[in-house]
Symmetry: C2
Subunit: 401 residues, 2 copies
Amino acid sequence: MKAGPSQEEIRRHNLGTLLRHVHIGGSLSRTALAERMGLNRSTILGLVSELASVGLVREGLPRETGRAGRPSLVVRTESDRAYVLAFDVGVDRLAVARIGLGGVFLDRREIPVPPGGHDAGKVAEALAASALEMVGTAPKGTSCVGVAAAVRGMVRRPDGLVRTAPYSGWEDEEFGEDLVRRLDLGLPVSVENEASLGALAEHLRGVATGCQDLVYLHGDIGIGGGIVTGGRLLGGDQGYGGEIGHMVVNPYEGRPCGCGARGCLEAEAGERALLEAAQRDPAATGRDAVRAVVEAADRGDVAARAALHDVGDWLGIGVANLVNVFNPRTVVFGGTLREVFLGSAAQIRSRINRHALAASRENLRLRVGELGDDAVLIGAAELAFSEMLVGPLETLARAGA
Amino acid sequence: MKAGPSQEEIRRHNLGTLLRHVHIGGSLSRTALAERMGLNRSTILGLVSELASVGLVREGLPRETGRAGRPSLVVRTESDRAYVLAFDVGVDRLAVARIGLGGVFLDRREIPVPPGGHDAGKVAEALAASALEMVGTAPKGTSCVGVAAAVRGMVRRPDGLVRTAPYSGWEDEEFGEDLVRRLDLGLPVSVENEASLGALAEHLRGVATGCQDLVYLHGDIGIGGGIVTGGRLLGGDQGYGGEIGHMVVNPYEGRPCGCGARGCLEAEAGERALLEAAQRDPAATGRDAVRAVVEAADRGDVAARAALHDVGDWLGIGVANLVNVFNPRTVVFGGTLREVFLGSAAQIRSRINRHALAASRENLRLRVGELGDDAVLIGAAELAFSEMLVGPLETLARAGA
């Protein structure tokens, strides 16, 4: 428990907070900023001027006002002045984006996983090469202020070591450090689990904006989870929290799981369980294969309907457990679970009603993610921007701009 | 997101933080306080003087120094100057305590649940009468600065409404408001779930001191949970978070649960499951009956050993799920689960090793609560003190002292 901040720390905090408001909230008038921050208008004016003098925000006319008369000016971010690099290491594709203040995608590329994708070094090499091309073509006077990468695995919080990323075959990879060396931008690289970043994105910019307590389920080959409780991303002691795919829901009769246990939620309700139950070609996997099952069920395919029913049962049980444990306001289904939810919502709801306590579920909203496949990149960008939003001037100065 | 604090807010924050340090940490030298709070010694001197002038702390010689030479003075709380009232509404007994700064029990009584204990009004009446006797006998010049009550049920965070307390037969009881009226001390009454308060107590003063991520399981008739993540008590959207007793672990074959579902952790591993499996007299319930099963198992009683084995299996599965979801540093077994853990630790550990991910459990510690039956009262007292530790002078002034 520390003492209160100094005057200088307060000034830094206020600059960061103002920038965060316009970064997340878009265009805001100085009056609105004064209200949200609890400061008087002259203090706000000073803060806006300071951020504008280094090119992070500018004032201008609102895009549309809908009212007659002279509109008041609004403050907005200069989306190109400071940007971050966001990486998403998927199972079968890599994505790289250059994202500006305000969450604007300035550049975006997908590249195939390089041959020998189990070699984390080759993945880092491909990502770094693509990112450096983006940095090279960025306009003059713009600065990269942060880098973050999403992986399908368990990431140790203090140092970003990827302890295990089973679908990439990684164990104890210093992936972030490797990216730091290859990029050579003088910036640290934050590494985080993809579902946690999906949760962060939907919390800040998606379907759960303004919601302080949410559970995000991310379907991919496996089932990942990202949890926001009291407005903060749950990490746990070492950063491994949120592994909801390995909650045991069927301990004795359950299907074997990749983790070595039996009856995990991921084993019962993951992609493989769905595709097997729907009697699909074992070679077909991924989002398209899952979508095909949902479409077949819509057309009346008996095996597909039964598969969605079973998977919905297990998902409902898993979500009910999470509702009892977290009392979230919103549960968000992302990745391939978006499609699965749309195909088995009735079953999921029925299980939640049976297994979740009445008080815990009475205000519950079930939603599909609204950021789609970009959720993870958007979350990575927010993680990469976090230092900037704490100390804008210091971060910009360190970026050599 | 608010702007940084004013000078006055900083002063208040620093007074509260200093008081919290000595309230939780015991006697501390001014040098130690300066270090922990990141303030210089003259600022600390000013804060100590201000708190001492209203009688909340005093400086004196340490109780023992173990070093030669003149010992430095230490700051400690005046345990009797400001106190709180803590209530614990158990299933078969009520407890009331008057607890001073520093967590010192100044007075403590147990009273039986009044006839017709399903009437929340009668319970509040008995608690208030006992508490007012304590207030009446408190020394002159002392002030009651907060009141909190623990209940075995689900409590709505914003207003303290007891939505349901199944073992007391309560539904939608304005229990806190009722206590406010009956006590008539001009103070609000905070109401909270008993397992959340047990978690808070073990986190602040017990076996998990200094641990920021812990899961506390409280055994009573049912199984309650209190979760601290990132140093904060998990509440969820409405305050109902932590209902780990209703995680489904055995959805198809499971025993019926009091909540109406089947295969909840509480149904499989709670007191009733243990006593039935151990073939005990159905009339014997409670802590003594549970302890008798553990003792019988120690002596080689076959049914008792089998019962502990089964219950340990389910508890281990439940804990493994919580380890995957929360990645806690410490799992604490409190209430009757203290005894159950001591009798089935091997089984619990074996299940955790099978079902929890290796990274999530590698630093995990399993512990029994060290505050015993008082954990809940201690947690209630901390909740009642929380306003005092944010603004000591304002709280004292409001208490009319």
